[in-house]
């Protein structure tokens, strides 16, 4: 499950620029599941998610000239492509999936104070690694990570102070980092 990065980002970027098949293999092996998880949380079916993932890799490969290292991480760039294609896909199908997810997360957040709704997590498509990740953290991470909400937008949406959102995002990611470490140790 855990993919130890064996190329540093610069080496990988150079290989992609050369359209080296090894670069694709590395990208797919290391990032396909993560991108698929994001896509799957936005679109409504597995089939659609696979189509979007495929289009994501094609776009990464064919539009790589538009990636600028100075403007962000390679993974962040790929993440943006995946998110945008997933949202486009749902729009093109006239599925208002974004609002659907929003209403789901709203519901989850509202329920959060009462109890943890496991089916809600499944609807987003992420296996529960909960127990360690608090529900409130999960909701904030999902909004920021899967739907590309800025911290200001999350603040407005959840009616939380911006400082709180920042702290919660950081805490949530720190928890995830701990989980990653634990998986390494296993």
């Amino acid at each position: 499950m855990t993919k130890k990065i064996t190329y540093n980002q610069d080496e990988l970027i150079n290989l992609i620029r050369q359209r080296n098949q090894k670069a694709f293999t590395f990208l797919y092996d290391n990032y396909s599941k993560a991108l698929f998880g994001v896509i799957n949380s936005i679109v409504s079916s597995q089939e659609e998610a696979e189509d979007v993932l495929q289009n994501t890799f094609v776009k990464i490969w064919n539009n790589f000239e538009s990636y600028e290292e100075s403007k962000g991480r390679l993974y962040t760039w790929m993440l943006n492509i995946a998110r945008n294609l997933a949202i486009d896909s749902t729009r093109s199908k006239h599925e208002k999936i974004k609002s659907k997810i929003q209403s789901t997360t709203d519901t989850v957040y509202q329920k959060n104070n009462l109890y943890v709704d496991d089916t809600a997590h499944e609807s987003i498509g992420i296996r529960a690694i909960l127990g360690t990740l608090k529900e409130e953290h999960k909701i904030i991470i999902d909004l920021a990570y899967f739907e590309g909400y800025t911290q200001e937008e999350i603040s407005k949406k959840l009616n939380l102070p911006l400082g709180t959102v920042k702290t919660k995002v950081r805490q949530a990611i720190l928890t995830l980092r701990d989980l990653t470490k634990k998986e390494f140790l296993q």
């Binding site: 499950m1 855990t2 993919k3 990065i5 098949q21 694709f24 293999t25 797919y28 290391n30 990032y31 396909s32 599941k33 993560a34 991108l35 698929f36 998880g37 994001v38 799957n40 949380s41 597995q46 998610a49 696979e50 993932l53 495929q54 890799f57 094609v58 490969w61 100075s70 403007k71 962000g72 991480r73 993974y75 962040t76 760039w77 993440l79 943006n80 998110r83 499944e122 498509g125 992420i126 296996r127 690694i129 991470i141 920021a144 990570y145 899967f146 590309g148 909400y149 800025t150 911290q151 920042k166 702290t167 995002v169 950081r170 990611i173 995830l176 980092r177 989980l179 990653t180 998986e183």
Partner: protein
Amino acid sequence: MKEHEVISSGLLESYVLGTTTVEENELVRDLCIKHPSLTDEIELIEEALINYSAQTITPLNKELKNKISDKLFSNTNTETEIIPITKTDKTIRLYKLGIAASIVFFITSIAYIFYLQDNLHISEVNSIEIINAKISAEEKVYEQQQSLNALESKLQILSDPKIKTVGLKGMNSLASNSALIHWNTESDAVYFNASKLPATAAGKQYQLWAIVDGKPIDIGVIDLVNDTTFQKMKSVKGAQSFAVTIEKAGGAIAPTMDTMCLLGNV
């Protein structure tokens, strides 16, 4: 901004999540150059997020990797290859059109070459004809010039008041013919003037005689060139008559009386 302040600000998380502004991205880049350990922090955040979303409940279709790989590295796949294929079709169509155009051009060129060769041949023939025509025209001009000169000299000769013209009557073989002798009584010059004299037999020639005191004097053979003969003969004095006989080519010393064909008295 100090390292730990950056780390605790949440900026790096937003940076990896892709929710930072352009200015914030530049800030992060500059901070990473100042504090290289921030890059390690960023990589840890990224790794955590990747591991998180990779834990999807729906397993990823194992065929998908090959499908995408085929799409990226071979041109034989179907479906979304429709666009390139259409392009190829267009290209092929263009090539076909190009080839067809080339063939038409080639055939046209060949036809034109034959046409030109034909024309060239015709114009070669034409040129020869033109040259010939020119030559014959020049010849004609020359001939006419000559005959004009001859006429002029004839006129000059004949308009001389000292010229005496003697008519010769045809007899025997030249019974239907006639001729004139123009004789300048002062200079003694004699001109033979006849038209449409029949050609002599091979090896024979007309010869003109002047009869002076009953004796025939040879005043030259006649060269039949054209229809009209106007020839200066040898000069003679005191001739009473002129006669033409047919002699061997080059002339005879004495006339053969049997072959006399023209005769006239002064």
